[in-house]
Structure formats: structure tokens, C-alpha cells
Symmetry: C2
Subunit: 97 residues, 2 copies
């Protein structure tokens, strides 16, 4: 999948289809916070995302504390957002519950 950095118009279009995600302040990434009932639920989610990310060869930057998971998606090789980020965000949303 293309590693070309998306244009501002393409970013807007992509984010319109990902209403739960926000553009990071620096414009280089999209972010979403996920909240679960406890750590076990949060880590089960992370495990699913990890397998998905490994298959896609595109990995998140993420932070976890207890029931909270903060995910940031960016494409370092593109210097910002690429279609890979939109695709991974969409796939994550499908099992975010």
C-alpha cells in the first residue's frame, strides 16, 4: 500500500470516514483513545491490534495504563499520514467494540 504522504484534502476525506479519530496537533498523525472495563480487556484489545499491525507491517505508537489505550498512527517513511494509517485505523475500529 502507498507510503506517499496524503495531501490535506486526502487527510480530510480520510478523517471524515473515521469520526472517532482526531488529527494530531502536529498534523502528522491520527489519534484515538480507547477505554475498557479493566486491564485484561484493554490488553486483549492490544493483542488483537498487535496481530493486525504485524500482518499489515504497519505498527502503532501506543500508550496503555490500566483500562486506557491511546493509539497514534503515522507513517514515518512518508513523513506524515499515508493510506496505511487510514486503513489500520479503520481495521482497529472494526473490533474496538
Amino acid at each position: 500500500m502507498s507510503l506517499t504522504r496524503l495531501s490535506p484534502a486526502e487527510c480530510d476525506e480520510g478523517l471524515a470516514r473515521l469520526p472517532a479519530w482526531s488529527l494530531a496537533d502536529d498534523g502528522l498523525a491520527i489519534t484515538r483513545r480507547f477505554l475498557f472495563s479493566d486491564f485484561a480487556e484493554a490488553f486483549a484489545f492490544m493483542t488483537r491490534v498487535a496481530i493486525l499491525a504485524e500482518k499489515a507491517d504497519h505498527h502503532p505508537e501506543w500508550f496503555n495504563v490500566w483500562n486506557r489505550v491511546d493509539i497514534r498512527l503515522t507513517t514515518h517513511d512518508a513523513g506524515g499520514l499515508s493510506r496505511r494509517d487510514l486503513a489500520l485505523a479503520s481495521a482497529i475500529d472494526r473490533f474496538a467494540g
Copy 2:
């Protein structure tokens, strides 16, 4: 295990036995960075830590990107470091490789 906040002397003593860990700037936590060969290795490590943390009912604050895992241990209920953090750090070290 005690949730009492450690005294500065107890922190020093504990950290002396955990040479790979550092006291956070705010003095409320200990931190360690782990580097692996790739994402799969990093997440395998995280999975082991997650199971350990869940069994201990004491959970890390952690960040991962690709082959890097940054762990911060603190005890919110104690308002700083407790023996739980030292015990979890020691257990994590045992399989950090």
C-alpha cells in the same frame, strides 16, 4: 503487599538492586526502556509483562513503538513508589533478556 509510599532511603535501597531502572524526574516512579529486534519480539515481551502484572494486580504505564517499550512503574494509591513497583520491576527484569 504494602501500598505505603517508600521513604527516600527505601527508594535508594530499592534502586540499588535495580541498576537498569531510573527514578523518574518527579521522583514518583521508576522507568526503564527495553529494546528488541522487532515489533513481534517487543510485543511478546509485553504479553509476558501483562500476564505478570495482572497476576500481581499491579499494572505498568507503558509506551511501545516498533521495537521499543518504555515502562513506568508507580503506585497511584500510595502517591509514589511502593514495594509493589520494586517487586514488579524485579520480576520484569528476570525475563527482559
